[in-house]
Symmetry: none
Subunit: 278 residues, 2 copies
DNA sequence: ATTAATTTGCAAGAAAAATTGCAATTGTAT
DNA sequence: ATACAATTGCAATTTTTCTTGCAAATTAAT
């Protein structure tokens, strides 16, 4: 039985103070899940003792147990992602394709644990406000770099893919200035030329966006914006580009929003918008 | 300055215990945000006192302040959504990234309805037995073509990416003969030069493999092997490359199997094998 | 091998959060 | 108006969580 069902069952027997608490919980469940009994009580204009009593009344052994139920239901964590995975194909097929699909699904299910909507929006804004966009992807990430070059050129942005040869890289960076942006990728380790790239960008005042794997936070020098989420597969084994590609696609969609300044709700509407650019 | 930036700043000065804590935080930031110092410490295999000291080291006045920063950054609440100026949906489940992840997951979950293990294996065998592999991707599929060129070159295969200019395409196809293979992609409509490509291959007796979207079955001339699965998103709207990329990855893994003639069961073992090639 | 420095667990104490006995206040029934 | 029941704030107490002094263990330097 979900928490909301428990609350619904007790709805007719709630005292006025309890009702105010419940209204606050329903209005902002994640805030209630994160806060203390005292904070919820103050928000509802009752005493914290009332909050403790409400939890007991709803069948929980303590306020902490009540709050844990709120967290399970309203805050996505690794366990949530696991449940997410289970709602999709639960077949025990051992085919290569089936197992790949499951690994990708598992990684995709956790993606929001690491990257917030704000991060996506900020990255999109940095890129769309830049006069020129320089995209750098080394090794397998060159594939993602190519994808982003194509997408941002479709928006009409002056976008360049940086070569991976050190001399060529240096030459292409010569023209970088403060109203440009650099988009780069890093997975297992910093790509060749990474430090030089970041330092050059910092010197001229260009903004930098990095899409990375799990260890992205440990990269030095630091980019202006970092979007780091673990890819599917083991850290030391075969890893695919599906998670970073999904991040790229989300940035592209957000960039489309930035470009058009429209207020859209559904992804299919977003997709139609982007399609008009293609 | 974001929390990941603070962690990045201190990365070189972390003690082993601190690093384990940081790795746990990075691995599952929402769990860290919800739990206590004791819980995080236990997960990392250190004492809770170390967790308290790490928070101070990272510049927070207390562990609670550190945890609050985790919550601000990784847990979407009404306040976080409100700060998100461009009107993307308020709850986490409606974010661009969240919705994209779900769409990809849904499409991946269905992938085995359309493609059998035999198809993957046959495609891999065709490519691995070819003397030379020609890869053709037009438009966004160029990204997948690049990926496959990189992967098969890693296997030591003589692999060429065909240019999309018609004249260049014709010239490159001149050398095609019966022990070669052609790998191509087609999504909304046959790529430019597709018919000529397929007819030339057929004339010289080269094998052809096509990775396509839902409408792949309608393609003419028909390739020797067709792997067609619907991509995520609406047919007439924004579609991503995740599904075809997963097909590509499955073929690569199967090719690795073909190359080594080993019988492997788990994807992680497969991953280790492919990693040895990279 | 010895010494010094660093790291980190232990545990006492502090701080924060929750619980519960008590009683003031409010609402309802007579 | 009075009596009774219910509600809920107060504050003492309990529980949980965090902080920090101390010292053992480990690592680094000589």
């Amino acid at each position: 039985m979900s928490l909301l069902e428990k609350i619904s069952d007790q709805a007719t027997t709630l005292t006025p103070g309890e009702r105010r608490l419940v209204e606050n919980v329903i209005d902002s469940p994640t805030s209630a899940a994160l806060g203390t009994a005292g904070e919820l009580a103050r928000a509802a204009g009752v005493h914290e003792a009332t909050a403790s009593r409400l939890a007991k009344k709803l069948g929980f052994v303590s306020y902490a147990a009540f709050r844990d139920a709120l967290r399970d239901e309203f805050i996505a964590t690794r366990e949530t992602a696991t449940r997410f995975e289970k709602t999709i194909a639960e077949s025990t097929s051992d085919t290569i394709l089936g197992e790949l699909a499951r690994e990708e699904t598992q990684a995709l299910g956790r993606i929001e644990e690491f990257i917030t909507p704000e991060q996506i929006s900020e990255a999109a804004q940095i890129l769309m406000r830049a006069r020129r966009i320089f995209v750098y992807g080394y090794g397998n990430a060159e594939v993602l770099a190519l994808l982003m070059v194509k997408r941002f050129r479709r928006f009409g942005k002056d976008t360049h893919q940086l070569g991976t040869d050190p001399r060529g890289l240096a030459e292409q960076m010569l023209g970088l200035d403060s109203d440009d942006a650099v988009l780069s990728f890093a997975f297992r380790r910093p790509p060749r030329g990474y430090a030089a790239l970041m330092e050059t960008a910092k010197e001229v005042g260009a903004r930098t966006v990095m899409i990375a794997g799990k260890s992205g936070a440990l990269l030095t020098p630091r980019p202006d914006r970092l979007l780091a989420a673990p890819r599917s597969g083991d850290q030391d084994a075969f890893q695919t580009l599906t998670v970073p590609m999904t991040i790229c696609n989300a940035i592209v969609i957000a960039a489309g929003l930035t470009a058009k300044e429209e207020s859209l709700k559904k992804l299919d509407r977003l997709g139609q918008l982007i399609e008009r650019f293609e």
